[in-house]
Structures are given as C-alpha cells and as structure tokens.
Symmetry: C2
Subunit: 351 residues, 2 copies
C-alpha cells in the first residue's frame, strides 16, 4: 500500500495569532514556534521514511507559498497545491484528493496540519501507518484522537464509541471546545480525546463523502477532476467549511484512533508556556529575559535583544525588529484582532 500513500500537509493561513512573528508572507508554519525548525519542516521531518517527498502534497495559500516552499526545498514544485482563496479544510483536502487521484487512482491520504508539535515522531509514524492501513482496507474516515493530559479548553473533543477494529473506535460524538468544568468532566470520565485535526482516508472515499454531505462542493470537484485547469474558477466557489463540521460530524464512516502522544496545536503564544521550559519564576523565555519580580511570562525576542520585565505577571511579550506585542497570556487568542486592526488601518506593511 505504501506507494499509494500521499501525505497532505495543510499549510494554508497566516497564523495571525502569532503576530508579530507571523506575517502574511511569513506565516506561522514557516516559523520555528516551540522548536528549532520551521513548523512545516518539522511536520515533514516527522514523516521520516513513511512518505517520500515526491508524494508529499503541500496545500497552501498564494500569500504563503513562497515562504512555505522556501523551507521545504525537497518538495517538488508540482506538489505545491495552491488554494486560489482560503476555503477552510473540507475544500482544501478535497483539492488534495483530486490532485492525488490524478496521480494514483487508489491514493490514500494522510492529512496533517503543518503547525502542530508532536513527539515522539516514531510513535506518530507507527500510528499513521496503522491508520492508513485501516482507512485503505475498511474505507473509513480515520481521525487521530489524542489522549488528553489536562483539561484543555482550547481543543475540540471526540467521544469514542465501540471498538471497530483493534485500536480503532467509532466516533460517538464531536464536542466543541468546552468550558473548564466540562473539560475536567471529560478528563475524569475517560473516553474523550482531543480532536487533533489529523486524518487518514482514501482519496476516493473522501470525495464520495463530500458528494454526500457537501454536494455542491462535490459537483465542483467532479468538474475539477475533468479539467484541472479550472481550479481558479471552481475553488473560490466552494462552500467554506471545516472537514469536521462539513463531513465528519455527519458521516457514519468516521473512526477515531486514540494516540498517547505529546501533542500541541500551538494555537497561540500561550502554547509556548507548554512548549518552552519555565524558569523558577514560571517564565517561559525564547531569547534573553531579565525578570525582576515578574512571573508567568511568555517572552520571545530575537538573538541579541533583551526583554526586561519588572513587576508584571502572566504577560506575553514578543519583540520583532519592527513590532512589539504586549498582552495577557489568557488573551493571546485575541492577537488576531490586532492584525485585523492593522489591516483595517491600511498597515499591510506590518500585517
């Protein structure tokens, strides 16, 4: 089966919650957030020899393509799948499915967001291989569920049902990002998994389910398969919806493979408190920090720049050559609003 597997790196979007590190043309996925390598490069490296570069498809936006390609020199240019406009994950994965089917009628897809942190890589590869084999053999839509290690409120949850094959479970229910108490209940009850956004399925099965649950998109994909040159015309008309809402919550072919891996979707700067070791005052510094009576900080500064904090707690401070961000850790998600504000103000140079 291996030579029919295509990895699909989902590398669209600018990751505005990582402004000012991220910019429109320097998206989050090319930054070394929470690690040493650009995130999309770490995602590729994590595949190891499971999928060779010539069968890695990278779906990204036109604004991000140059930066993404720049950190993935081994990926053939024709494997860069450009979204003419951002249309969320269901159309995006459909586009990759069409591309893969054009090369291999029995293609099996391993869909991976390009901005997650996961360890260890060997455990991931072993699980991915099992998921691909299961999806290929049973024609199911396999989603990777992460065994929760804390009552996270920033992730969606999957409640698993009966076991369908060794290690695989029916998806009983998808649950939205919960409030803190609810998240604690999930953790205590067991059987709840973090919805990782990583998937394995046959390309043709995915398009069948698209036909069934998002038929207008399905029709456009059919046209696109007939004439791939119509992408710029057809894709922007796709109904924008996530694969979870659009397909997985409706299909009866969804399965979940629970994984006990260290995983983080690195959703905002607050994630750095989990990914960067803290000092005795609970400060998580990337770059140099001088803290005096300051605790629980998340700081990022370039080489040769010192952040000095006095008498402040639980802030995010991110310094770049042309912009500096200061906000509370628990409002780090709202950083995207600052970027929206910059764009409204015509400051595209900084956005």
């Amino acid at each position: 089966m291996n030579e029919r597997v295509f990895a699909v790196l989902l590398a669209g979007g600018a990751g505005t919650r990582f402004w000012p590190l991220s910019r429109r043309s320097r998206p989050k996925q090319v930054l070394p957030v929470g690690g040493e390598a650009p995130m999309v490069r770490a995602t590729l490296a994590r595949l190891g020899d499971l999928v060779p570069p010539e069968r890695v498809l990278v779906v990204t936006g036109e604004d991000q393509a140059a930066a993404v390609a720049g950190v993935l020199p081994e990926i053939p240019p024709e494997n860069l799948v450009l979204e003419p406009a951002p249309r969320n994950t269901a159309p995006c994965i459909g586009l990759a499915a069409v591309e893969a089917l054009g090369r291999e009628p029995d293609a099996v897809l391993l869909c991976l967001p390009a901005d997650h942190v996961m360890r260890p890589a060997a455990g991931f590869r072993e699980a991915a291989a099992r998921a691909l084999a299961r999806a290929d053999g049973a024609g199911t839509l396999v989603t990777f569920g992460i065994e929760p290690t804390r009552p996270a409120t920033g992730y969606g949850y999957i409640r698993r049902g009966e076991e369908t094959a060794p290690g695989f479970f029916r998806v009983e229910e998808f649950r939205e990002k919960p409030a803190r108490e609810r998240a604690e209940e999930y953790l205590a009850a067991g059987g709840y998994l973090w919805n990782s956004g990583m998937f394995a399925w046959r390309a043709d099965v995915f398009l069948e389910e698209t036909d069934r649950y998002m038929p207008e998109n399905g029709a456009r994909f059919a046209l696109l398969r007939e004439d791939p040159s119509r992408r710029a015309d057809l894709f922007p008309r796709m109904e924008p919806r996530s694969v979870d809402y659009g397909i997985l919550e409706r299909t009866d072919r969804a399965e979940v493979l629970p994984l006990a891996l260290r995983w983080d979707d690195v959703g905002s700067f607050a994630a750095l408190a989990r990914l960067v070791p803290g000092d005795e005052a609970g400060n998580h510094a990337t770059g140099e920090l001088l803290a005096l009576d300051a605790h629980g900080l998340v700081t990022v500064a370039p080489e040769g720049h010192l952040v000095a904090a006095l008498g402040v707690d639980d802030l995010v401070v991110v310094v770049t050559p042309d912009a500096t961000l200061v906000c509370p850790r628990d409002r780090a998600e709202e950083v995207k609003s600052l970027v929206a504000g910059l764009r409204r103000a015509g400051r595209e140079d900084l956005a």
Copy 2:
C-alpha cells in the same frame, strides 16, 4: 553683574531610571525625553542670552562626558568640568565654584540640573535674573521653589517662611518626599513649594557654607583652589552629600524664590504621562502605538517600530534596538534596579 554670572549645568549620572533608552555612555540628559531636543541641550537653550556659552560650565562624569559634549558643540571644551567620581551635588557644585572663582573672583552661579523640563523659558530667565541679583547683593543661597499644581509624591517640598525681599522668602523647612495624604495637605495648606534643585548663589558664599557645614570638603576645596591639578586626587575623597542635606538644611542663609512655572524633573518614565499628550484611552505614546482595550500606557518606540498592546493597562513599554522594558507605571522608579541587575550580571554591554 551679568558678566560675572556662570551657569552650572549639572549633567552627571547615567539616569538609570530611563533604561533602556539611557545607557552608561548615553545618559538621560542627552536623550530628548519629553521633548524634541536632548535634555541638556534644552537646558542650555532655556538660558537664552542670560548666560553666553563661554560662561556655561557643564559638570559631568567621565562616562557621560563625550555624549554630553557631543550635544553641546558651542560649549568650549575647557568648560566641561569632569567629576573624577560621582560624589552627589554638594561636591559637584563646589567643584564648579572653584572653577568659576579661578576665572572670576566675584562669580555668581546659576546651578541647573540638566534633566528637567520647564516652560516657559522667558519666565524662567526673568526669575533666574532676579535670583542672581538677590544672591549677589544679599549673599544668600537662593533655591527655586515651584508652586505645586498637584499633590506630587515624587518631589521634596520647601515650606516658605517670612518674606525677606520682594518675591523671596526665608526657607522655613525642607520636607522629604511625602506620602499622598501629606502631599494633599501641603497643596491645600499653601506655602509649600516643590524643591526644584535649581539654585543661585555667589561662588565664594557657597564655599564659605561648605567650610562651615562640610568642613572636610571645604578643606579639600581650599587645596584644590591652590593646585587645580589635584582634582583627581582630592575630589574622590569628598564626602558625598546632596547640597540640600549637606548645606541648605543647615544654613540660615537659604531663601526660596517661588515660581509659577510648568516644571517637571522627569524622574522616571512615569513622567511621560505628564509630558506626552494622552489619547482618548489615556495612552501616552512616543512613537507608534496600536492599543486594543489597553489604557493608561506609557510607550516609547523608535521610528518605524510599532508597539501593539492588547488588554493591558497602566504599563510602561519601552523598545530600543537591543532591549525592551515592560513594567507598571507605578513601579517605573524601580527600573534602576534592573540596571543594577544587569551590572551585577556582567552585562555592561546593555547597562
């Protein structure tokens, strides 16, 4: 009398409370804090034609001399009076007195800290001329008192006594920086003035009072007058004391001249909230600021750098190319502790 007047700009010290803008070799007084020009340059400009550059003495430290001289090109090099070591204002002014007396036996000194903001300059010049005439004629030690406009807790106060000459008053008492309630009492009671640290007196009178109240220093100044080449030997042995504590609080020749001027000693970044106009959210930005649900900020950023603040209040944020400061406005005085920390850590490059 005018040709016997020497202005003494007190331009020593690094102004560590303005770190990271200020550094050991780029002291506060050469920065344009709260204005357009370097503070020491603004102090010189404020003199107008009251004192010509050839009779302006600039007392500064060896670490600061190059920077200070650099922004005062019209001051003759021999007018730069270098303190071999910092010894507070009483020895510093004594040194200037010795220098002036070497040039003019009846010298009258106008002593001005080089890091204050004051407006209007014409009002200051008029008051300075009156203070100099009084000090010259009556042999008194005239201190400039500022009519308080708010219950400031960051300044010392002077309680004025009986009028000694039109507009001049005996100094009844010096009062330390008060707590808020006490400061409010002063303001309500009237008769209290801010101790501005600006003075006028004859050079010989100042040295007489030094002989009387700081006799060891007086003896060393006598030796220095005999042999000016002994400065590096004698000055470091001076008893370090402010002119207020060392002389003015003890002498019976102190007078105060109340002034109704806009004056600020620009003691810390918190002063920028008074000197830089605020926007509708009460943010005082020098340079570009994007504030979202953020209030009461004092920010400083270089040209071309944006500070973006989200959900934070009453902070000081100062960005420079190699260091960024974040602290609460009401702890801005403590910034000097950060600099001490840097020096202890051997980071002289940043201090």
